[in-house]
Assembly symmetry: D2
Homo-oligomer: 338 residues x 4
């Protein structure tokens, strides 16, 4: 932290700030220039910089270190690999996870599983509990849906990723899912994050619609502080003034996260754009930008989907996309795992 005093701040004001800093356990380096005094501050506990900002004579307080630690690359310079069976997030492989937005029936999930298994997908996605903006929308099949998903996937040698809505659901998810997904709306559900810190399975953490990348890394920090270091980050679009797409997919988050953190990052172009015809270009772009994986909605009959059919690919479209992604992955020196 650096504290910049106002021009003409009195010696008494400066001393009061220094006293408080020492009380908070900081080492203080004082630089007195012709124009103003600057206090360089090291160590100490985590404080709200605004507390200092409001002291008399203080002009500005600047935080100079990241508020997250376990998730930062400073803490762990080499990248982390999160393994799910033989699938390795954060390795040379680009992991494509696919499946329907929601589990709707045994028939639908079996057809979807068959479709994605046929193109070689290793991790199947599907929602059983759905966070819907409107209470009048379909809310998911619940545990029964989870069981159907688990069966359809495992029978075909695929792993399962599904969204957990609440910390009370964790035990149930541990039974059926191989990766527990935290949705964008729950990125700062701190009770959920804390409990996931005690779990022994990988967590895929989606960026909130209004979350900065720093917020995302702090949310990961909650999980990691509990002892679970198997965190996969996921960019899925942020809320901006643009209305042509459902969200604005922030692909520059990929190189930014790669620099700040050692955790793998994947991209969800289905939610990120909200429209089927935008999914393929954004999926290709994500791989070209260095994403470690993709989360893609595929539905055997999107016209009849109970949720987000508009952003789901048909099996044939998904198959074609896989071939395109293969080429892009090769172009950036990686391989596609799917």
């Amino acid at each position: 932290m650096v504290i910049v005093m106002q021009r003409g701040a009195s010696e008494q004001q400066i001393q009061k700030v220094i006293d408080r800093l020492i009380g908070d356990g900081f080492d203080v380096h004082r630089s007195t220039g012709v124009e103003r005094t600057v206090l360089g501050v090291v160590g100490g506990k985590i404080v709200d910089t605004r507390d200092y900002e409001l002291l008399d004579g203080v002009k500005e307080v600047v935080r100079i270190t990241q508020p997250y630690k376990l998730s930062s690359r400073t803490f762990k310079p080499e990248g982390t690999t999160v393994d799910v069976g033989p699938v390795r997030f954060g390795s040379k492989e680009v992991v494509v996870m696919a499946g329907p937005c929601t589990v709707e029936s045994r028939e639908q999930v079996e057809a979807a599983a068959e479709a994605v298994a046929q193109v070689g997908v290793k991790i199947m996605r599907g929602g059983a509990f759905k966070p819907r903006t409107s209470p009048h929308s379909f809310q998911g099949m619940g545990e029964e849906g989870l069981r159907l998903l688990h069966d359809a996937a495992h029978r075909r040698g695929m792993y399962v990723i599904s969204e957990v809505m609440d910390h009370t659901q964790i035990p149930m998810f541990l039974e059926y899912a191989d990766i527990l997904q935290v949705g964008a709306r729950n990125m700062q559900n701190f009770n959920l994050l804390k409990e996931l810190g005690k779990v022994q399975k990988p967590v895929l953490l989606k960026r909130g619609m209004s979350a900065t990348i720093e917020d995302l890394l702090l949310a990961a920090e909650y999980i990691m502080t509990g002892g679970n270091h198997e965190v996969i980050l996921c960019e899925r679009g942020i809320r901006t003034f643009e209305t042509a797409t459902r969200n604005t997919l922030d692909l520059s988050a990929i190189p930014v996260v790669k620099k700040l953190s050692h955790l793998p990052i994947v991209v969800d172009p289905s939610h990120g754009t909200g429209r089927r015809d935008k999914v393929a270009p954004m999926a290709r772009a994500a791989v070209a930008a260095g994403a470690d994986g993709l989360l893609i909605e595929v539905h055997p009959d999107p016209d009849k989907a109970l949720c987000d059919g508009a952003q789901s690919l048909l099996p044939a479209q998904f198959d074609a996309l896989m071939s395109e992604l293969q080429l892009i992955a090769t172009a950036v020196g990686r391989t596609i795992t799917h």
Copy 2:
């Protein structure tokens, strides 16, 4: 819903859209102009407009009715009043709720209670479980804090509002709190909202940082659909590109909500600005714009606050603000209840 067909859409394409509409239970009015065909659609179930948008020959789909019902003014033209003892949200009174961000100790909560009771506050606020962006920040005293808050407030004839983080905490809150607050980060925690729909106490629902006003009304709809119609909305700032304030307090939400909904709306200028010296101007502005109440952080010793001290008023500042608000309330034909 209105569906605009592309210029030159074929009769077959138009018919396919009409068939699907009828399948979804809609009445369809077809207008064929020189240039294009427009389908006016009434009734039917709630659908995702994107499902129609992707059909062949469709140019645009426009939703023409609000997706919320119970919270809309169309449904209930006169305003709703939410009563907490003799205090009436949504009446001519402007209700000022005040207290510390967090309960930190018996001494602190007693001092705060004494300070706000002395200026006549009827509803005391205070957090016992804190949603903190960083896991390394103080997380609140938990149930013990709730009990201290309840005792300090009730002994002085004040009611209590406090934030519930999770649906599992509801029974505990019913014991200690008179209004259950849903924080901005939980505005779309649908499991929490659904459970609050079964409760017999008022709920104060804060707008999420990236929530539109429509999203806020849909979240209220979740609670109301469960049977609890005692919902108070709260504007507390949205996330924008401006960094000079913690959030951008959207005061125009007040007249917008007043037009769209019958529910009372209050404003939290403390979180909305994040800085003590911005609280008073924004509190005055909120009352001038027609807010039904305010939620203000007051701390007996903000410099020592464990949370958000920077945005808390000193008791003397709060006292002075009350006098200013009194004048503004009079100017807009209302009274201050505090």
Copy 3:
């Protein structure tokens, strides 16, 4: 500026940064802690902090001084008053400027002038050249409109404010207008700003739709650097994800600007909300928050307005609003000049 080196940055890397800083004319204070080295930097020329951020071994670069000077309160601690005849922006008076969005005809501008003069307005607004998002919208009457506005206002003892679109129009505007307005879309039209720096008349500078308050003060700096210190700032709404209002009026900009700058700040609730029924609440709120003035659209027959009729008040509505504002102004210890 403060430069934080990475943990384990080599002595050579640190020295390279210091050398470059000295080359840029800075004084450098070096603090070497257990964990890392921090360089405090004072003086020197204005630099792009990113240039240092990319040097080897650098972790973060933090700017600690504002990039604007003439417009800052540090430079001039007391507030500035901008005078237009007897009207004083930045004084105890709250200055209400009013008139139609656009000058459409002699009849219309005369009727509007009569309406606003009757409630005591001293400064009349009106557009002659209109920046319209669509080329197919009405573009304004041009110089003829300016002349009609000038005549209608001056004959009734009112001053004129109108928007200049381009530096080539400045001489024409000097003939007809008493305050030259820079629109939101031109806030960073630097050629225009530079030329306005040479003018002897007040400039009202509107905040751009995506401009931070710092950007606004930097734009003012352009004008002031040229020698014209008569700058009035104007908040008119910023672009956010919320679509219920045309823009999100950021009233917290008022106390923020008051702290950072000595310049007067006014608010345009007509453009800030885009809807007639939102203008009055936001105008009241602006005065309650401490605005030095308002810019309000009034049209004798808004239904027939060629531009923005939806946000224009009827004369009777304007009259009623004035009475409300009078009460609010009194409540905050000010008077209304209109």
Copy 4:
């Protein structure tokens, strides 16, 4: 346009709306349902939908056609190709334009020209007049810079693109530049756009920081309405709450524009990210997403650059990037022209 009347709107109110619609030249289709009346409206002049929204009894007004025409794909279903010599924007080629942010000296521009010519660039970029946020930053060399750029490029068989700041500069630019660039801050400088409509040279139009894609197409419409159809659109990042990058590069704009418009679209990853190490991943992503070209800053000695050195690539980095882009272009069935 569709006008939805309120439930219980009176026959008189409905008739008043219909009368006004007919007065504005519209054909009206009336649908009266059980619950409400909906008016479908076709033809007529371009109106501000808000004018109808404020009429008594109206609940909502919905625009159903795009407000732009010449730039829309409806108007011209096949894509447009903009030619600059043998270079074809909008064809199978992906056109890479490169050069320094600003022309600083003959030596610098010659070195830059040599560097980019050597990797086969056909169009060189460089700024002579710089829109700088601060008046204290370097403002460009002016016409002399333009001449140096023209000479350095043309002598090596390259074409020139440079940013015109103002309509008065157009004649000067016609002498030196082959493509006239409109910067993000000038996207709604309508006087400039109108004059560019009369020009016989291609215009590259950058998206404003707070411009929706619809705003961008409307700005293009200004130029095309004047008769100049040679418009190249450019995505260069929008302003959001995220501060880790200078702007948020909205790559989904590429498929969105491709669907809505027939105009070519290129991407500027240098301004879009603001950091050298983010340029390559975003450039690759843009090509993978379908961009028709790129605008990349290359500087022979970025550490000494007077402007935006932090986002400029070294010649060797640019060379390496070209090889990567080659592979991506091949993967999406295109070629790189550079």
